[in-house]
Symmetry: C2
Subunit: 114 residues, 2 copies
DNA sequence: CCGTATCCCGGCCGATACTG
DNA sequence: CAGTATCGGCCGGGATACGG
């Protein structure tokens, strides 16, 4: 296995950067588990394909788990893993820093102040 | 001024993501101030142009300051701003999370364990 | 010593369409 | 309902060269 990241910062950043990843994780934090369609409905403007990609990456990085019920009508549920949950203090800190240091007019919708 | 970021997380992430930004900031944190050439020398593998870009972005986002001595021989110094310094608890948290949750074999050189 | 311009490549992500 | 494939645009960032 060869080094893939410059340092710990680089490695962690790769796991949380992605346009919708944080919103997916916050959504799962609030509701415990979500089906694919529910995520797509609650996360405004994300495309079908991109949501799939971000979910795959989160899953491959061990931040969420995926449960396929394998029924005739497709039914898949996503949840946060323990690793994923351990990231929340950092995610909250990032949101709060933005809230206090960045002009609110530049921000579409508040995420961390809910 | 129109909204530019999805939320506070998105906004903060834009300010700290960039392949070399964190290394620049850690370098400035250790040495208080650095000239352009010193940064380039201490940050292995960064290209001239890319270092310039990252410094400009950090400056435009108010995380560092730039002082041009305007002498015959060019002489420019970079420092952390107060805003920049206020990010360090978060940067450290990100590094430490990576240190404890990511396989060390994937990481080239430790950054936060110095 | 420091900055800027140009060219180029790879990756993210959106639109769309097709599958079971 | 959930996933996959293809196409295309945009942007970060590396190589290189030139300018003050």
């Amino acid at each position: 296995m060869e080094p893939k990241y410059l340092n710990e910062f680089d490695a962690t950043m790769h796991m949380i950067q992605g346009k919708w990843k944080i919103m997916i994780m916050y959504e799962l934090a609030e509701t415990d588990e979500r089906r694919f369609g529910e995520l797509q409905h609650h996360i405004k403007d994300v495309s079908h394909k991109t949501l799939t990609n971000q979910l795959r990456e989160l899953e491959n990085d061990g931040l969420i788990t995926r449960h396929d019920f394998k029924t005739a009508e497709p039914h898949v549920e996503y949840r946060l893993s323990e690793n994923g949950k351990s990231l929340f203090p950092i995610l909250d800190a990032i949101c709060n820093w933005g809230d206090t240091h960045i002009d609110h007019k530049l921000i579409e919708r508040s995420l961390c102040d809910e």
